[in-house]
Symmetry: C2
Subunit: 585 residues, 2 copies
């Protein structure tokens, strides 16, 4: 038997008991006469004590050999400690081993196995199994387990069935790029890994499964950006005989349940709702962080035709009001200017207006505007004396983007983005379609199965860009956690949509023929939502990076540097697949 207890559970009440523990050597201290070993497992750390004058020679020899990360099995009595350690749950006791066995030796690990490690990201990824021994990584995996468990508990209680959909499916050119899997049994053909179970969950609705969910791996062969993973996990859900409000109610309930059970945080229902249009105008983005206000105000009409060419020549002037920041120094304002001028933000410059405590104004555009002009801006922005107005100008959408980034930066600077505060909302009424100038066609903003709002279908042929979708995104603290829509459930409408997206009838048939066929046999009205499970974990864990919440993540180049994948395969394998490599293609 390797253990009677784990390394986190012994307390004073166990005093006098003979116990066996197994675990890793966290550290060893030798203070002349006494040696201590901190033994660690998943559950905690327990101190082993060895008295050089009393402990058996063989045991002392074994202790001598042990280094960090050796795996030991120790048997001995639980003793009350002379000097207790209030910082650890087992700090009242220690074990005096009368038997000690090295279960496995260890080389010195390449980085310290401590809460704050000295290992670089790259090194910790290569030795991820050692990284997982560290509390922050282990705790992230425990958190993920708990969120998954509570997700399933809530959905099961609400009548949802978890149903596995296939992972070897068919490639469709719409959307992101598919990973493909060559078929050996059917040479020249390929499976594709799913980007989402979208069509399968719709087919389940057709099959009468009125409440479906699945925690499911999805795959996208995208050029990776920071914090994108080629494989990621979704909480994928779909319901029949529901409208938009039914779905939003069901899933804000899920998120409330998760916050309560996993973090003991109370979230109020119902969530706030913003239309996409409002969100863009007030926050410059479709996933606003509502932990602070500082909304965007348009100043175009107030700011133009006063002789300031920068403003007069643009489509849009707008700004945000940073409360109590009129006292910002030259240096602070220069920093902000540099911030918005970074290539990834892209503003040409920043106009500031200090609304001083005494009611006077000081701005970077005093030459062009009277105090009355500036007062009119301050009023439009609901500013009061002591506030600082930060103004950008340019093409409308770009300027809103920039103001959105500046707003978050000011939120950070002013500590308005409290990590312990959670402000969820729904963003609704997204445009159904987005025009792309490059390819000269419309793209589905969510996906080609999203239905149009009934009152907007009249624009479908005359002004498709104006049509709003029965779509909704759930956003918390500036993070888009999930999104979904009420689907089209009618063949004609679905075919019309494919046509708008530039599919010929043949292409639509070839790719989605099975769905169009299925629509012939009685379709229930249905809709759903999919949450980024990795992202929910990161939000709950208080991290920006989903990678911390994945046991074995890929790096930013899509590589698993621990197992060294992807890798070459044998010529025999290629031959069986009837494939030839041609890296010069």
């Amino acid at each position: 038997m390797y253990r009677t207890h784990n390394c986190g559970e012994l307390r004073l009440k166990h005093q006098g008991q003979k116990v066996t523990l197994s675990g890793w050597v966290q550290r060893k201290r030798d203070k002349g006469g006494m040696i201590w070993i901190d033994l660690r497992d998943r559950y905690g750390v327990t101190q082993l004590a060895f008295d050089e004058s009393k402990t058996d020679k063989n045991i002392l020899d074994t202790v001598e050999k042990c280094g960090r990360e050796y795996v030991l099995k120790a048997t001995g009595n639980v003793i009350e400690r002379y000097s207790k350690n209030d910082n650890m749950p087992t700090g009242d006791i220690e074990i005096f081993p009368d038997a000690l066995e090295i279960l496995s030796a260890s080389k010195t690990p390449p980085f310290t196995i401590e809460n704050e490690s000295d290992g670089s990201d790259e090194l910790r990824m290569k030795y991820r199994y050692l990284d997982i021994r560290r509390n922050p990584v282990k705790n992230a995996l425990v958190l993920r387990h708990n969120i998954a468990r509570e997700t399933r508990k809530y959905l099961d209680k609400n009548g949802f069935l978890e149903i596995e959909t296939p992972n070897l499916i068919k490639s469709t050119p719409e959307g992101a790029r598919d990973f493909v899997v060559p078929s050996r049994m059917h040479p020249g053909t390929f499976y594709a890994l799913p980007q989402s179970p979208q069509t399968f969950k719709q087919l389940l609705m057709l099959g009468g499964i009125d409440k479906y969910f699945q925690l499911v791996k999805c795959y996208r062969d995208e050029d990776l950006r920071a914090d994108r993973q080629p494989e990621f996990s979704q909480i994928d859900c779909e319901m029949s005989f529901v409208d938009k409000d039914d779905i939003m109610k069901q899933f804000e309930g899920l998120v409330q349940h998760l916050f309560k059970t996993v973090k003991n945080v109370d979230i109020e229902l119902p969530f706030k709702r913003l239309t996409w249009h409002e969100s863009m105008e007030k926050y410059g983005i479709d996933k606003p962080d509502l932990r602070f206000d500082m909304t965007i105000s348009e100043l175009t009409h107030l700011a133009q035709n006063k002789g300031f060419k920068v403003f007069d020549s643009v489509e849009y002037v707008g700004g945000i009001c940073a409360e109590k920041c009129a006292s910002y120094s030259r240096k602070q304002l220069d920093e902000l200017t540099k911030f918005v001028q970074q290539p990834q933000v892209g503003a040409k410059g920043l106009v500031y207006v200090k609304y001083n405590e005494d009611g006077s104004f000081k701005s970077s555009v005093d030459k062009f505007f009277t105090p009355e002009d500036l007062k009119s801006w301050a009023d439009a922005m609901h500013a009061t004396p002591g506030d600082l107005l930060l103004i950008l100008a340019g093409n409308k959408q770009e300027t809103l983007d920039q103001l959105s980034v500046l707003r978050l930066e000011m939120g950070n600077r002013l500590n308005l983005r409290d990590p312990g505060k959670f402000e969820p909302l729904w963003v609704v009424d997204f445009p159904l379609l987005e025009w792309d100038d490059e390819t000269n066609r419309y793209y589905a903003m969510h996906h080609p199965f999203t239905s149009a709002k009934a009152e907007d279908t009249k624009f479908m042929d005359i002004d498709p860009g104006k049509v709003r979708a029965n779509a909704y995104d759930m956003v918390i603290n500036g993070v888009e956690l999930g999104g979904g829509s009420i689907r089209i459930h009618n063949t004609d409408e679905q075919q019309h949509m494919f046509k708008l997206l530039g599919f010929t009838e043949e292409e639509a048939r070839a790719q989605f023929g099975f769905l169009l066929d299925a629509f012939q046999y009685g379709v229930p009205p249905h809709g759903g939502i999919a949450f980024g499970f990795d992202r929910i974990c990161a939000l709950f864990g208080g991290s920006d990076s989903i990678r911390d919440y994945i046991a074995f993540p890929k790096n930013n180049a899509g590589r698993d540097i621990m197992i060294d994948a992807p890798a070459t395969i044998s010529e025999k394998q290629l031959k069986e697949l009837k494939l030839k490599l041609d890296v010069n293609r």
Copy 2:
């Protein structure tokens, strides 16, 4: 709002309530003056009633249009039925709709949506979404959901963490064939889809996660046999600081929990145990059906050297005793002879001995053996008057195989394989290695990470075939539900194993270098088990076919005939992957 209730919940107590239901038209009956529609959803069927003399004309027009599988929304009062139907839970009531809407029309479905459908397998697979509307398929998916839920509940309660391991990993030539995924970002290299998360779960043990599980998709590119799927699901588990008995106890507990909570069947603990050797000798197979006895007895020494050449020339003579079958007719015995002579069984012939009620013997070999000889066989087989002895001879392993098949056939004929009875056992002490004559090398019987029994390591170099493994299979009713082992947790031992399996040091490094490296840093003793989740579902559902328990299965050629996958991909996709098809390779 589409519904106030579902189609399975209304009872007499709802009488007088105004309700709204949505669902599919199961059937429509017109009896002159009255029309009834059975409306169906996931939860049941409710009868809608229309009185041609009272119901609104518009509603009757709508009813007129409806055919099978139309989707309707009906609102009306709950009425007590005049003639009740005890066969359906809602049979006491019906609805008199005062509003009726067709939500979606339907063509006549290609097969009947009834418990017993007229659709062929092929047709039902092509229209799987319609097949799922049928109760048997829907119930199979509900069963699967319940088994998954209870698996997670038990393992979570026992301290296991569910951790997702990656699906884009590296190809290894050991074991079955991998599906591979070409990498676009790293041209010329490939990911592989996992055949199991074996190495990753071992790395989690190294990471200190002492109890891991995962319900996980696995992939094998095998030439498909009936009831093999290229993607299948496993309950994958691993534990640290445990021995074989700890693991068997933990997981017989899981199976007991599943039987109790999902089927309300009590299973006794601990499970029986048979060594692999006993199992092979007594049942001719490593997954015996213990619902009935009829064990195999060896008769070689009793049967040889009596002048019967067929027996004298072979390695092994053995038989089974079919109780109370001495009265079998010529025809029945001929059937059994033909049965064992089928190519898939492969016996040359069948010897029978009738041990008549009066104590006399009648056999097909009376010419060669005296009644005393036959009595000695009967005694060896613990036969009593009235029994029938069925005897085969030949090469030992082949004959045991054949006897095993004959035993199951007799079990079927004698109704000894009660589908309501469950007889679990562990088969232990498997051989570590199997010799393959064709490739002239050893193969790991489980996998290359399985450890040898301590007392057998002495044979490791002198007679590797004799070494038994710390391995165990769980078998119920002749079905192998799962298997596992205590793993090697030592670099030298692991390297030795790779060598026995014919890996050069370079090959071992190239494929499992990360694991050998990991073993340098303190490995806990560990072991685990993996269950075939699809198979558990089939066993619980009382079916032989796992396909019935998979929402969207592939056919025996690995094709999804509903979505038509695998399929060709575009030249652009191939080019991005730097691949060329060459079907003549």
